[in-house]
């Protein structure tokens, strides 16, 4: 098993593998996202209270989910890179960051837009939005730290420490913000008893999450390939031709 892992972690092998995988993520991602969009905008019924504004949930919640998911992935990749000194893992963390930050921005923007018809203001300091905002700061800090180093190895390892410290803090931040206010609708999707949204209205949500996940798989494969090429600049396997 370890042999396979080390083989995969070798740059030329990873480069080829990711190139093969990318379309297998990409096309299903496109199809799934389109399906979810159609389902969310057309097929799903409007909400009894919020009307059609409710449909914003189908892009807001998946974005928020991805923003947190990617941060965790980034932190795990950084930890793997730091502990086992696998450069590919560091490259994966670097590749994931801008994608995660984009989803965080999207979650904030759609959350804010949804807030206007829901609560009457463009911004509210509720637990979810505030947590997303702080997460954006964490992403930006990570990317800022990375870019402040000339030495790529130092950049990798310093930002890895930051990512690990950040991911440990995320539950603390979440809990503290949650404690700080309770204006936002409680997590209706993950409530253990009967959810407060009808199941029929949740399908587009889950499909969109799947679509975004596939999209992330595609995007990170492509970015990681670029990262590998950049880091392996002077390696022999490159010079021999791909």
């Amino acid at each position: 098993m370890w042999l396979w892992f080390h083989k995969f972690a070798s740059p030329p092998h990873a480069y080829r593998l990711l190139g093969t995988l990318a379309p297998w993520f990409g096309w299903p991602a496109l199809a799934t996202i389109l399906l979810a969009t159609w389902w969310g905008l057309v097929k799903a019924p409007a909400d009894y209270q919020q009307g059609d504004a409710f449909r914003i949930l189908y892009v807001h919640a998946p974005s928020a989910w991805m923003s947190m998911f990617i941060y965790v992935v980034m932190a795990i990749a950084a930890a793997v890179g730091l502990i086992w000194r696998i450069k590919l893992a560091h490259a994966a963390a670097a590749a994931a960051a801008p994608i995660g930050a984009s989803f965080t921005f999207l979650a904030l923007a759609t959350g804010s837009i949804w807030g206007k018809p829901m609560w009457g203001t463009w911004w509210v300091w509720d637990a979810r939005l505030t947590s997303e905002l702080i997460l954006l700061f964490l992403y930006l800090g990570y990317m800022a730290l990375r870019s402040s180093f000339d030495d790529p190895q130092r950049a990798d390892r310093a930002s890895a420490v930051l990512a690990i410290v950040g991911v440990i803090n995320v539950p603390i931040i979440h809990y503290s913000v949650e404690w700080w206010t309770t204006l936002h609708q409680p997590a209706s999707v993950t409530k253990i008893d009967k959810p407060s949204i009808a199941i029929a209205m949740l399908y587009p949500l889950f499909i969109m999450i799947l679509g975004f996940q596939l999209y992330f798989g595609w995007a990170i494969s492509r970015r990681l390939r670029g990262e590998i090429l950049r880091r392996e600049r002077n390696a022999s396997w490159l010079k021999e031709g791909r």
Binding site: P98, T110, I113, A219, I220, G226, L229, L238, K239
Partner: protein, 52 residues
């Protein structure tokens, strides 16, 4: 369903379409950035091996 009704989104057209539009924009930008990241590096790698 009437197409006009669909676009109106029950009066929330601005909010819904802006949100979905932003989503499409973010996905598109990440798509082109990811492709560019890869192809830029491929070009410079090709150039470098060409000048060997």
């Amino acid at each position: 369903m009437d197409l006009n009704e669909f676009f109106r989104m029950g009066g929330y057209a601005g909010y819904v379409w802006t949100s979905y539009g932003l989503t499409a924009l973010v996905l598109l930008l990440n798509w082109s950035a990811a492709r560019r990241c890869e192809s830029q590096e491929q070009d410079s790698a090709r150039r470098r091996s060409g000048t060997d």
